[in-house]
Symmetry: C2
């Protein structure tokens, strides 16, 4: 029973074969017919994919023996011009005598959208690696996590977890996070929540929900490259707002808003890469500015629980309900499990859920259930206190080592998070220095990877959260030595040399 007419029917309906055959010629008839068909192909009358009539039909049509037509098709097939299909006739493969394997290959450099991002290079091995902003896997509570997973897996709910889920996320996880957000005063009655594959996807989805090519977006500078590249790739016009000790420079932010920035992406606490935190008063000032301009604020809140010193500050979302807040378990718990979320006014979540469905239907359900149970059962809070205690140790190591070894640099030790920024002595280049540092046994990411429009070659990011206090001390000592050496050899080079004296 046919839904519609078959593909292969009618393909040749309008084509009449009228070969001018010479029975008196030395050239056999099958070959004359084959040459005729080859000319039809070469001339574009027959094109790749076109069907030739079945041999019986063509034989009748042009008054030849069917064997002759079959021989012609066989010759054409041996030349790679056509391909036979039992019972369906044959069809044209290519338009020249090249074998099909040698047919036109795609020039991927023309077919693919261009890449615009320099790689930060492979991480060096066998060095103390300050280049990656990630938690220490030595702290992962593997036994607790195993128990937690076993509890989730043994539950009858497992069946529904393995079935297709909601774009919004696993309902019990959403409910738990929304309740916690309400306690933290970052969700009101008009807010809703969407689960994403970590915070990176949250930004990608919001980028689609809030920008079009040419939309002006204010971001921090230096900035996390994954954030910058996402907006750049989508054709947004980026305005870099310099970050100082106290986060975004508000005068520059005002200018960005006056220049038409419609979206502001900001990490108020322990910004990556600088570690800077915006003080309470400046948070309120920032909100006053964005509120008066009507710009949408995306608050990247993934580091704010990692407070090693000092107290908590109000989240921007608690100062203005229009703010869109991004959270994640990745910085406290397990970055390999991709679960993050967006808390935002309901219209934003409705559009974001639509985009989430377009992107990948929904976030992995099993991972959502694991992390919910890890949190609900109190294991997350226990782990968090261990991570924070360890972070305090790391921070002390950073502080004393910097004081001891980085006397030539400018830096500011943060109160939490995973990263800090080092300004090298004037004129020193962090990219050039990196080669020396790697040779000496330490790695970091040079400032230029975090640049939006300014040169940041004199700075670098130290990511300390993944290292032990001992490695932090040893690594910063090595780095300090490399910097001192570079400064000394520069001084030597600039001194007049008295050769042969």
């Amino acid at each position: 029973m046919a839904l519609r007419q078959s593909n292969m029917d009618g393909m040749m309906a309008d084509m009449q074969f009228r070969p001018d055959l010479d029975t008196a010629s030395d050239i056999p008839l099958y070959r004359q017919l084959g040459d005729y068909v080859q000319r039809l192909i070469a001339g574009g009358d027959l094109r790749p994919g076109d069907r030739l009539p079945p041999t019986r039909e063509l034989a009748g049509q042009i008054g030849l023996n069917r064997t002759t037509v079959s021989a012609a098709y066989e010759w054409l097939e041996s030349e790679g011009l056509i391909q036979g299909a039992v019972g369906r006739g044959s069809f044209v493969l290519g338009n020249s005598l090249r074998p099909p394997g040698a047919a036109r290959e795609i020039d991927w450099s023309r077919s693919l959208t261009p890449s615009m991002f320099p790689s930060s290079g492979s991480p060096a091995s066998n060095v103390i690696d300050f280049s990656s902003s990630r938690p220490s896997e030595q702290l992962f509570p593997l036994e607790e996590f195993r128990e937690c997973c076993a509890e989730v897996l043994s539950h009858p709910r497992l069946q529904s977890l393995l079935q297709l889920g909601s774009p919004l996320g696993h309902a019990p996880l959403r409910a738990w996070l929304l309740a916690r957000s309400r306690q933290q005063n970052v969700a009101g009655d008009d807010d809703d929540i969407l689960i994403t594959n970590g915070c990176q996807q949250a930004v990608d989805i919001l980028r689609r929900a809030l920008t079009q090519p040419g939309t002006r977006v204010a971001i921090e500078e230096p900035v996390y490259p994954g954030l910058r590249n996402l907006f750049l790739d989508a054709g947004a016009e980026l305005i870099g707002v310099p970050v100082g000790d106290e986060g975004m420079d508000l005068i520059a932010l005002r200018k960005a808003l006056d220049a038409g920035a419609k979206v502001v992406v900001v990490t108020p606490s322990f910004q990556n890469p600088t570690g800077a935190t915006i003080p309470a008063a400046a948070r309120a000032a920032l909100i006053a500015m964005t509120r008066s301009s009507g710009a949408v604020v995306i608050e990247n809140d993934i580091y704010s629980d990692l407070v090693y010193a000092g107290g908590n500050l109000p989240r921007l979302k608690s100062l203005d309900r229009n703010v869109i807040l991004l959270g994640s378990f990745s910085k406290i718990a397990f970055p390999g499990i991709r679960v993050g979320w967006i808390v935002a006014p309901k219209p934003v979540i409705a559009r974001a859920a639509e985009l989430k469905q377009l992107t990948d239907l929904h976030t992995d359900q099993l991972s959502q259930a694991f992390l919910l149970h890890f949190a609900e059962s109190g294991r997350l809070a226990r782990h968090e206190s261990i991570v924070i205690a360890a972070g305090r140790e790391k921070l002390r190591a950073v502080e004393s080592a910097c004081e001891k070894h980085l006397g030539m640099c400018r830096y500011s030790v943060p109160d939490g998070g995973m990263n800090m920024w080092i300004d090298l002595p004037a004129g020193m280049d962090a990219v050039a220095l990196r080669g020396l540092a790697r040779q000496a046994g330490v790695d970091y990411l040079p400032g230029r990877y975090f640049s939006v429009s300014r040169s940041l070659d004199g700075g670098l990011r130290l990511s300390f959260a993944g290292l032990t206090p001992a490695d932090i001390r040893r690594g910063i000592a090595i780095l300090g030595g490399v910097i001192d050496n570079a400064a000394t050899s520069r001084e030597d080079a600039s001194r007049p040399t008295l050769a042969f004296v």
Copy 2:
């Protein structure tokens, strides 16, 4: 130690306060000063986020007692115009006397990119539901899956699974899939593999890698809406190629290529929603066409293992190495676990990996490890044979029920997959009929949700894979009754009524 100058310094550097104060007035000085500042705010000389000088400083500057300045600030704060911050002066909140809570709210309908997709409506409850293309959760091998997870979780490798991973995917899973793809002749030496969050994300990533706004993309019609909407949302220009019993109409595809289609997305086996499969000869013809035009082919291969009748057909990727193949475990195993993949020439995978990193860093590592172990340990193959045996039963139920109850319709029973297409009797509307069907206890998706540019209101999709044979039989019987009734009442309505005779 300051990285750069603090935000809060210098904010007011250029602003001079010159209030015209009248000591003889009845209006107290603090209030005169307050009114003056209010006028500066209302006139735009001071803007939200601007800092006022500390009271002591301003008092000195304008020759007033500090208490008076403090009283003026307090009055301004009580009016909601400014906010104080201990030790840092105060700053401007808003530019009118509205309390800050009532400040300008964002009009989300203007800030959000527009949604362009009609919802397919909530699934009806308590009906036999043919509306969702998903496997039956009753078949999920929960005990086998639990064992499999326990084995993965107990492995010391768990620690690295919980850490940040590669955008390309979990290396052992990639190696396993690449080896299998080579066995299936769908990967050569020039191919590589990228793990995605299911097939939907694979399409999203390739859409970014291969199209820009305005790029012409040929897709099947009817088509899976998640695919159509993804390209539409990105501004591609879609060309719908009608799908018949034997898949894409090749004459229409030729026209689409001639019209400049640069990308062709095709599901050669058990297409969603029609269930159509392209025969071997037409596959070769399709490849001959796309090869000669230089268009990129994306082969959606997620259903091809679900063969209940007939044999396997060559994948397009085995006919042309330029083809990009999409695979997934979701249709065989567990759709709630989001793991799919792309097999493609290396330059495509390199660009796709960059985009994957921008999108969400990488796919959940634990889920990748679970599915790898499920496959490697032979459990996937065992489960697959159970799914296929069950599918065969379902297909038989579909076939006999359709023959018995859908005599008025045109349809074609597929040889596998999850879906089939029904053309209703001429003039009958699937959207209108759906209301009646739901009342009668059966649901489906009307054809219009699968449309690209043609009206498909006379057709509908039946997704049978999630149902038991008994429910399939019962559901199709109900549907057939609803269709017969609708046809009869239409005939009655068109007959002249002889009232009161």
